[in-house]
């Protein structure tokens, strides 16, 4: 589960959409947009899930503290992604997270997250996808890739209406048209 903190409607609209789509494509089961509602993003993401398949959940408006506490009470660990944390490559942090064998909630903030996010009361691990400034979207991608492995990238999303058939050249899409007809289209 991804928890996106600090989203500002409009200004962060595209970036948060990218974070959510990345989470879905890299194998996360859902995203929580904490402390705020943004119906437009919810609609966009749910529409993608409807068309492209799978069961990615989109929740919004829950206070971050409540979401974190519930996650921990149910036995999960909380991973805070931050450039200041333990380096995912040069430290043992990823191994420790995996060894815990617990479900992970991944907090993705922005530059100005509350100091509490770093404290034991909130995060079990502070993880840096490199200690250089870059992008929450890239951080989520690399973290999920390392944590879940690459298999999500080639998995079938159940109940998809639209599906890409990978090609060396060009574009090929299969879609379930009206009346359940299967259409294959080179575009």
């Amino acid at each position: 589960m991804i928890l996106r903190w600090g989203h500002r409607p409009q200004r962060d609209s595209r970036l948060t959409t990218h974070v959510a789509l990345t989470a879905r494509a890299l194998g996360a089961d859902g995203i929580i947009l904490s402390d705020i509602e943004d119906k437009k993003i919810k609609e966009t993401i749910n529409k993608i899930t409807q068309n492209w398949g799978g069961t990615f959940s989109f929740t919004m408006g829950i206070p971050w503290r409540k979401a974190v506490n519930e996650w921990r009470n149910e036995g999960g660990v909380v991973v805070h992604l931050t450039a200041y944390g333990e380096n995912i490559e040069s430290s043992e942090v990823l191994k420790e997270i995996k060894d815990s064998r617990k479900d992970a909630m991944v907090i993705v903030g922005c530059q100005k997250v509350p100091g509490e996010f770093f404290a034991e009361s909130v995060s079990d691990f502070n993880v840096a996808i490199g200690n250089q400034p870059h992008s929450e979207c890239a951080s989520v991608a690399v973290f999920l890739y390392r944590f879940l492995g690459g298999k999500a990238l080639s998995m079938d999303f159940p109940s998809a209406r639209v599906k890409i058939i990978p090609q060396k050249r060009g574009k090929k899409i299969i879609s379930h048209g009206r009346f359940g007809r299967l259409n294959s289209k080179e575009i």
Copy 2:
């Protein structure tokens, strides 16, 4: 080298900035913003490189065709990242790229790239970081991670004025102050 195509100043400003910072943090040597100039982004990226070290190059305004042709003439391969391409996990495409032992230029577009990008005259490989819709920023991150390996994430960027010292909790930064003094700051 990353080639970013289809950037629209203002509308894509943050996303392209994230793509460039991701490219730098994951080990690319530079980015070309093709066909357009955006001085604000150039300034942002160059300032980051100045402060955080390394030699990441930022070039803009070159027509994409010219950049691609020059790259190929100098013996490099061109990798077009697209959800329609060969799946990086389930195909042999990454191995083929690595086996070529050539420098790679990675084209990152947007939804509406010219059809030519898929053709042999432009791309040597069309690569999908999964065949689901997600984010060019995540695609660049995972591609570089797979292509260059994770070592970039823990490498030292030479001549950095600012550097994060990874921590389990909290934030620690070292900076070269005026007169070359070294300051360590817990923030």
